[in-house]
Amino acid sequence: MSASTNTRMQPGSTVLWEKGDAAGHDALGTRTFGFWLYMLTDAMVYAALFAAFGVLAHNAGLTSKSMLASVFDAQAAYRDTIVLFASVLAYGYAMVALKKGSRTGVAIGIIVATILGVIFLNMVTGDLEHLFSQGVVPQLNGFLSIVFTLVIYHALHIVVGVLWMLVMLMQMGRDGFTSNVVYRLINLRIFWHFQAVIWVFLFVFVYLQGKVI
């Protein structure tokens, strides 16, 4: 009763019911918040995969030294890093253009980000194909299973991101900056920038530290 007794109000002067529809709810902020929650669940997926990585790294010795060296090609991964970070920067540029309401600016930013995303994918799949052709496959042992799973799971996100960017280009072209398009552009920004965060973990904990395990 504590909350009720110390407030004294007169029935006549108290506002009991709100007028208007949304009652001050921030629709766009609600959308991005939910998407951010999803993004965090995805981060939890990565955390679980990294926990598995930590456990299975105990048996890294099953893979020969030369194989490990070809899997953890730090130079190649560094090249991937630059391309992905540049793509993220391009998408950031699109977001700055969105602030100004420039459709061309947003389109240019997204197209550059898409192209860089495709280049990233191309490099990653090229590396994977090369490894597979040499017989370095996830089926060899538990450690390689988790390493490839991490890399491929991240690459799948890039595929989704690229698809999403193409869809957004179409929707922007059709509708302009409606609230639906704007919140999706922001969600895509969260998604795309998040991939850079995950890549930092992948680059450091898998590609750089994998060599010494």
Partner: protein, 678 residues
């Protein structure tokens, strides 16, 4: 790329063939006939009453949180029935198959179920009760109540809400289908590694289990995102955090648990999937795999999941007990803190599910201590409920009876849980029925709270009260059944009986097992009373019609709108002035239900897309279970395509005109005026 299979496979049908249909098994044929008759009766009724278009328009395509909640509850009830039949089979098999001289029927050496069959039965029982009965019932009630309690017109993402439901329904359908096409996993609901690997479990049972589990996990995660965003972003003006109803707090903490832990379940199952489909070595016994990694990841989810189930139950008790004690809840702030403390600690206790893994003593001690810590916030809650009743005017109506039963079961389950927390003693009864009896106390607590909550909120959703007479018979027979089944189970646990036996070698245990069977008979009678309860309530629905506040002493926002709740929940969004706003308004003489100058209301539009996505996911999982690659690829492509196409839809909202709102409000007022209230 895919792992080499033992046994036949062809590109068109995958592993599917006529042999997959278990027509030799009389139990399954009987089940199939029962299911077919039930299905024909339902379909026939739909056609007879020409209800098809109505069902599609008003229910299947709905994005209304209340209707989705009701569908969740119906799904939960159906699966609860299935899980109960499984329980009946386990108990009767164990009562029959005692000692070397016990007779065998239907091809079993002892009892009437072969080891392979009873393996599937207990696996299905566990999975169904946790994931497809308790979870949908709880999610359904949260879905209905939370937006009403915070004064919102719908959830934050109504479309996602429907999608979450249809994915859960698709997963449940997959489990049911495994009865008649193929078989189900037979190694326990949480899976055993490396036993669940392809070489040791080459059939489709594990795949059914894995994909149904995975699909429901996705559905539950979606639901949790939705509820959290709804609570954080959609509260009515004036509802500060510390004015939020306690059930909403419980829902928030429980969905935070779901949000954080379900992804780990998805990983643990996905890695098993990679092992089974691609031949990787995550959990294999050799080749650098680690089978304990599965247990680790699974229980990282598994223990928070237990609290995901129990926190809403606590929330329900916290709503029911103040209403029927005619007092405000004792210790609101400590209740909130306790909910979050339980949620937080739940993330640091998972190893107690496998104390016997041979981790270091320091590790086992750590997890022992964290597990015991759970007792502190739980104890706080128990005392808060007791102090709420203390010097209150306690009315023993049905919801209150259920809440009190839940409180009692919590004491039994909690105390035995503390016993399980000791690593040293756990070495004695690990995998024994003592543990089984303990966690059944806890899930029966959850079930009791659910029954109480259904009794409590039913009039809000449907506009009439459930009758009390048959409901009380149902209640007391559930009490009887619980006592007769689980007291002997605790005793057998001390005697050293292990869980999941298809044959009981110790003849001295036979009396206890028979007592448990009597308990099951009480449960069956209770089920009959439950049906009578529902039937009589539905028959007398016009007599039992109620107004906005059927219990008279309710306290929160959900009781400030009409019963049944209109599609838009509130004609006007309420402004909140106090914790227990409705009690505050009644106290200050402001208990009117709004004024006359109604406005247009924007609501999301119904859509069939979630049903379609649910159906496609079902087909996708079915194709993956039977390794029909073309179908799987087609379904996956269609899912992506449907999602993209849906994102191009422009008209996702609609307006309820002010005149319609006025009409609905007036009709509700009139309905209230005609019969006697309460």
């Amino acid at each position: 790329m895919f792992v080499h299979l033992q046994g036949p496979w062809n590109p068109v049908w995958g592993r599917l063939s006529l042999q997959a249909i278990p027509y030799q098994n009389p139990i399954l044929v009987g089940t199939f006939l029962f299911a077919m008759i039930a299905a024909l009766a339902i379909v026939g009724a739909v056609f007879y009453f020409r209800a098809g278009p109505y069902l599609w328009r008003e229910w299947f395509t709905t994005v209304d949180h209340k209707k989705i909640g009701v569908m969740y509850c119906l799904l939960g009830l159906v699966m609860l029935f299935r899980g109960f039949i499984d329980a009946l089979m386990i108990r009767s098999q164990q009562a029959m198959a005692v000692g070397p001289h016990s007779p065998g029927y239907l091809g079993a050496l002892h009892g009437y179920l072969t080891p392979f069959h009873i393996g599937q039965v207990y696996t299905a029982h566990g999975l169904i009760m946790v994931v497809f009965a308790a979870t949908p019932l709880l999610v359904g009630i949260m879905n209905i109540v939370v937006p009403l309690q915070i004064g919102a017109r719908d959830m934050a993402y109504p479309y996602l809400n429907a999608l979450g439901f249809w994915l859960t329904a698709a997963a449940a359908a997959l489990v049911m289908l495994s009865l008649f096409v193929g078989n189900f996993a037979h190694g326990g609901w949480y899976g055993f590694l490396p036993y669940f690997e392809l070489p040791y479990s080459p059939g489709v049972g594990v795949d059914y289990w894995m994909w149904a589990f995975q699909l429901s996990a996705i559905g539950t995660t979606m639901g949790s995102i939705n509820l959290i965003a709804t609570i954080v972003k959609m509260r009515a003006p004036g509802m500060t955090w510390m004015r939020m109803p306690i059930f909403t707090w419980a829902s928030l903490s429980t969905n935070l648990i779901a949000l954080t832990s379900f992804p780990v379940l998805m990983v643990s199952l996905a890695l098993l999937g990679l092992d089974r489909y691609f031949g990787t070595h995550f959990y294999t016994a050799g080749q650098g795999g680690n089978l304990m990694l599965y247990n680790d990841l699974f229980w990282v989810w598994g223990h928070p999941e237990v609290y995901f189930l129990i926190l809403p139950a606590f929330g329900m008790m916290s709503e029911i007990i103040p209403t029927f004690s005619e007092k405000t809840l004792f210790g609101y702030a400590t209740m909130v803190v306790a909910s979050f403390a339980i949620g937080g600690v739940s993330w640091g206790v998972w190893l107690h599910h496998f104390f016997t893994m041979a981790a270091e003593p320091s590790v086992n001690s750590f997890y022992s201590v964290t597990t015991m810590l759970v007792g502190i916030p739980t104890g706080v809650k128990v005392f808060n409920w007791i102090f709420t009743m203390y010097r209150g005017r306690v009315r023993f109506e049905l919801p209150m009876l259920w809440a009190l039963l839940a409180l009692f079961l919590l004491l039994v389950g909690g105390m035995t849980g503390m016993m399980n927390a000791f690593a040293a003693s756990d070495y004695m009864w690990h995998n024994g029925v003592f543990v089984v009896a303990h966690f059944h106390m806890m899930v029966l607590l959850i079930a009791s709270s659910i029954f109480g909550a259904v009794e409590y909120w039913f009039p809000k959703v449907f506009g009439f009260k459930l009758e009390q007479r048959w409901g009380k018979w149902f209640f007391w027979f559930m009490v009887l059944g619980t006592a007769w089944v689980f007291v002997p189970m605790f005793i057998l646990g001390f005697a050293g009986m292990t869980r999941r036996l298809d044959y009981v070698p110790v003849t001295q245990w036979a009396p206890y097992l028979r007592v448990m069977l009597v308990g099951m008979a009480f449960y069956v009678v209770a089920l009959g009373f439950f049906v009578a309860h529902l039937y009589v309530s539905l028959r007398d629905r016009m007599k039992n019609r109620v107004g906005a506040d059927p219990w008279g002493t309710t306290r929160n926002l959900e009781w400030m709108t009409h019963s049944p709740v209109p599609a838009y929940n509130f004609a006007f969004i309420p402004r909140v002035h106090a914790r227990d706003e409705w009690a505050w308004r009644k106290e200050h003489g402001m208990a009117n239900l709004g004024n006359e100058s109604f406005e247009d209301i924007h609501m999301p539009r119904n859509t069939g897309v979630p049903v379609l996505l649910g159906a496609l996911s079902f087909a996708l999982c079915f194709a993956l279970v039977w390794r029909i690659w073309w179908l799987a690829a087609a379904c996956l492509g269609l899912v992506v395509l449907v999602i993209i196409l849906r994102s191009f839809a422009r008209k996702t909202d609609e307006v309820i005109p002010a005149t319609t709102v006025a009409g609905v409000e007036r009709a509700a007022q009139d309905a209230l005026a005609s019969p006697a209230r309460g």
